[in-house]
Structures are given as structure tokens and as C-alpha cells.
Subunit: 161 residues, 2 copies
């Protein structure tokens, strides 16, 4: 599916998908249940696919989805008013907080991004990476998007761990 | 690690771990960074290990962790005031809402449990299962635990999907 969908990204990142408007009871969504959509070039660098969007039932405000990055692909710089959590499903990736060294992430890692912290995340330069991403809303807002990540920023030396 | 830790389960399920008391910036936690702890026999049936506990930075209320069930192991019946989300990392599992058929879940599935819904989740009878689990708090509370799941309840016929 090569459709570039701003709307789907917004559904994920801004207000969540409308899947749970009525209470369906417990729902189980499989990777193939809904098509993946391509990440907008305004919000991502490189090839990025978004799928398995989910949203909690109000008054919960959690929403998220699975985001898959080709090697070197990454988000733009952005912040979340209540922070964000990533779970690395497969591959190797990078995450960076503004003004700090890049940190590497690997399959099975859990990454905590605190509220209001300007950051980006994506694949490593040599490996694709897929992660589950989820965040709570504050006053109906879940993300503020900023500028794209330059190649120099993306390729900067990672911190040892 | 065979230590039975009520405290660790409570940290995960009730108020979250204290890992993020001060703002550490972006943190990356690896599967081996902290030992797994064994699930309490009051809250789980069978062999269950809990690890990679995380908690968002206030005012976020998200907390969670990775829970690994041996074949046939499962949680007790319980509810979450704002619901819970599961991401199946590996294996095959089962989830059931009170009064409804068991649903099967597989690697890569996302399971949404609405607020206040009495339910349990665990491995299938023949396969281990590991999932990421996370939930928001309401008034400082994230779970209400109830009775253990009987073998008859656990082994009831699943719904087709």
C-alpha cells in the first residue's frame, strides 16, 4: 500500500484512530487486519509504514500503533505533551533527545520519552526497525511536529551503552 | 530469579515502578538490564515472570512491563479502571472477557481491554506466551484483582476468528 496518508498519521499521532468509538468489548487486532499506510514526507524522512493503529476507550487517552522504518528512515523532531513509550519489535534503531547524543535501541528494548522532550526516533543506517509506539493525550493533543532530522544530526556519534 | 515478589507485581499493576521519579531524559531499557520476578500465586496461575517494568514521567500515568507465561499459565480475573493494552511479543495466548468466549492471540497481535471489563489473559495450553502490557491510572489505581481462573474457565472453547 503506497498511499501517502496524512490523515492516518494524524489519527495515530494527534487524536488516535476511531476504532473504539463504541465499546466493542475486548478486541484482538492482527498485523494483517488493516493495510499499512505510508508515512508523510513532512513528518518522516525515508520509507516508513504505519499500521495496527489503536486507541483506548474513553476516558482512557492512550493511542498508538506499529511503525516500521527502512534503514536510515526516521521521524521528524517532535514532542509529546505526556511523553511516549516505544517497544522495539525488530531490528536496530536510534533515538535522540535534542542536545544529547544519539542512543541506540535493539529488539526488545523499551524506550521512555518524557513529556515535552524534543526528540526523534528511527531505524539505524544499516538495519530496518519496527516499533510499537504509544502515548497519552493532554487536552486532546498527543504530538507537536517540528523540522525534519538532517543527515548530520541522524549520523552523529551515538553514546556508549 | 525465583523470588516471589508481591511488591514488584504491585509496582507494575497498581502504582507503577519508581524508575522515573526524577526526569532521566530519554531512557532505553534492555531485556537483561533488570532481573525478572516471579508472579505471585495469588494473582497468577502457573509460572509467570515479570520484567522490564516501566512508568511514564508525571503527569503521564502510563505504566507497564513484559509478562511471560509458561504454557497454561494465566492471570487471575481482574479489571483496569482505564483499560489495558497488550502487545503479543511471542507465542500463542488466550484472553477472555467475563461472560464471553475465550479469544486466541498470536505474536504481533494488539489486544484492547476496555475500562472496567472483567477479564484474564495468559498463554495457550500448548505454547508459552510473552506480552507487553500497559495501562493508565485513574485516581492512582491501575488494577483491581479478583479470583483465580479455574481450569474449566481456562479451557473453554475459543471463539472462531
Amino acid at each position: 500500500m503506497k498511499t501517502t496518508i496524512h490523515a492516518a498519521i494524524l489519527a495515530l499521532m494527534i487524536s488516535g484512530a476511531a476504532m473504539a468509538a463504541e465499546d466493542p468489548g475486548i478486541s484482538v487486532s492482527r498485523p494483517g487486519d488493516t493495510p499499512q499506510t505510508q508515512g508523510s514526507a513532512q513528518l518522516f524522512s525515508g520509507e516508513v509504514l504505519v499500521g495496527q493503529l489503536f486507541r483506548g476507550t474513553a476516558p482512557a487517552t492512550i493511542s498508538g500503533g506499529v511503525v516500521s522504518f527502512n534503514a536510515s528512515a526516521r521521524t521528524a523532531w517532535h514532542t509529546h505533551p505526556l511523553g511516549q513509550t516505544l517497544y522495539v519489535i525488530s531490528g536496530n534503531g536510534r533515538v535522540q533527545q535534542w542536545g544529547k547524543p544519539v542512543q541506540e535501541m535493539k529488539t526488545g528494548d523499551i524506550v521512555l520519552i518524557p513529556p515535552g522532550v524534543k526528540h526523534w526516533h528511527g531505524a539505524s543506517a544499516t538495519s530496518a526497525m519496527s516499533h510499537l509506539a504509544f502515548a497519552e493525550q493532554l487536552d486532546g493533543k498527543v504530538v507537536t511536529w517540528m523540522e525534519l532530522v538532517s543527515d548530520a544530526q541522524y549520523l552523529s556519534e551515538p553514546s556508549p551503552k
